[in-house]
């Protein structure tokens, strides 16, 4: 069992194909798989469907794959930060499926958990519910949401051991565990690969069983909304 690869390009070798379905971790620009996104751009894989809460910004994160027109369809909850996204969507170059944020996260978790579908009240009576099965439980209407299983999950973690056990850091965890769970193949980039046994087994956020390939690399970790307070106001 060797899960450790040298570069993002090597870690993606043999798993990319045009028209594939990718689930990506990250929220805004926080905890996004920067290196793997760059490698997918370099590989030129086309007609991608990507499930990701957001689509980066124009020149960082998944926005890069919009610039290169590699994305055919996005499944997202919020895409407001990206002018190129709007342009391509309004000109019908890009398909978009809006999912409520929690529904998107749960669809990914379900896909990795052998749950084909689940009933939620989220979205009942809205556009989201159109065409979906409705069912009442205890007097309340729910809609059926299907699970997501992706050909590939691209994920960013803080640390991994060489068996793929992962630890995330602060709010950079976000969609990364559910995205990892729903990928048939899951490739992870981390800031540090540590020897097995050096992470407390009670403190592993995502067990290595979900992780197929790992790379270590340097991350830019760009901040989208740098908001601060003055020392005086403390």
């Amino acid at each position: 069992m060797n899960k450790v690869y040298k570069t993002a390009a090597e870690a993606l070798e043999g798993v990319l194909h045009d028209g594939m379905f990718i689930a990506a971790g990250g929220f805004g620009l926080c905890g996004i798989p920067e290196l793997l996104i760059d490698a997918i751009r370099d590989a030129g894989t086309k007609d991608l469907t990507i499930a990701s809460n957001n689509c980066g910004i124009d020149d960082f994160g998944l926005g890069i794959l919009l610039q290169t027109r590699q994305i055919k369809k996005m499944i997202s909850s919020y895409v407001g930060e990206n002018a190129e996204f709007m342009r391509q969507y309004l000109s019908k170059e890009l398909e978009l499926e809006f999912n409520p944020q929690g529904t998107l996260a749960e669809r990914m978790r379900a896909g990795g958990s052998g749950i084909a579908g689940f009933y939620t009240r989220t979205g009942v009576g809205t556009l989201i519910a159109e065409g979906k099965e409705h069912k009442d439980f205890d007097g309340q209407t729910h809609i059926l949401e299907r699970s997501i299983v992706a050909d590939l999950a691209i994920v960013k973690a803080w640390k991994a051991d060489d068996t793929g056990n992962l630890v995330f850091r602060k709010t950079a965890r976000n969609f990364n565990p559910p995205a990892a769970m729903c990928g048939k193949i899951c490739v992870v980039e981390v800031e540090e690969i540590v020897p097995r046994g050096s992470i407390d087994p009670d403190q592993i956020h995502l067990p290595g069983i979900y992780v197929h390939r790992i790379i270590q690399g340097t991350h830019e970790k760009r901040i989208e909304q740098r908001t601060t307070r003055k020392k005086e106001s403390a």
Binding site: L29, P100, R121, I128, F168, T171, I223, E224, T228, K231
Partner: protein, 208 residues
């Protein structure tokens, strides 16, 4: 005089009680955190955090620590981090006592629209649909009328809904209204606002 943004936020903060876990939306709701005072409130950020602290001091920003509005924030001594599936599990599961959200329109039956203007604004609903469907109490904070002076509190929403019959209370610059059987009930008037002024600025049915 109508309430300003900070007065609306302060009024919304008065809705909160010791021990509550609360989610604040962006815009005016974010200001509510400044007015909770000594109350023991834990703020949830739906990107995966309970116990959200204030903005960091300059130079102490951490790119791995942001709120749902993508702003850099800090942690507290009660903070816990978790993934997005767990975050929305607690939201849908009713563990969050209240969400305080902005709105484009609210209808007298509690319908809420705050995510989309067809043909114009297609940013997405983010976590708003999950929040209004799941939390214990939905409190809307918004201006009573739009820039054109038209009521944002309507008999029926005209925009695509975020949730159907989900709003419990509306706090505007003119006062406070509750969603009750048959329409909206005036709970409170902003300082110097008469009931007639509020009624005239409201398209929705007001019941007594």
């Amino acid at each position: 005089m109508p309430w300003d943004r900070n007065q609306m936020a302060a009024r919304a903060a008065a809705e909160l009680e010791d021990g509550m876990y609360v989610n604040l939306g962006i815009g005016i709701p974010t200001l509510v955190a400044n007015y909770v005072g000594d109350k023991d409130i834990t703020l949830q950020s739906e990107n995966g955090m309970l116990g959200m602290g204030p903005f960091p001091f300059e130079g102490e920003e951490d790119p791995d620590l942001i709120n749902a509005g993508k702003q850099t924030i800090t942690e507290l001594d009660r903070t816990a981090y978790f993934d997005s599936a767990t975050s929305f599990a607690m939201i849908r599961g009713g563990k969050i006592a209240a969400a305080i959200l902005g709105a484009m329109e609210v209808a007298e039956n509690g319908d809420l629209a705050n995510w989309m203007i067809p043909g114009k604004l297609i940013k997405g609903m983010g976590g708003a649909m999950d929040l209004v469907a799941g939390v214990g109490r939905v409190i809307v904070v918004m201006d009573h009328t739009n820039k054109a002076g038209d009521s944002k509190i309507l008999r029926e929403c005209t925009l695509p809904l975020t949730g159907k019959g989900v709003v419990d209370r509306i706090i505007t610059n003119l006062g406070v209204l509750d969603v009750v059987d048959g329409g909206l009930k005036i709970v409170e008037l902003a300082d110097g606002i008469s009931e007639d002024e509020l009624r005239n600025a409201t398209q929705a049915t007001i019941v007594t």
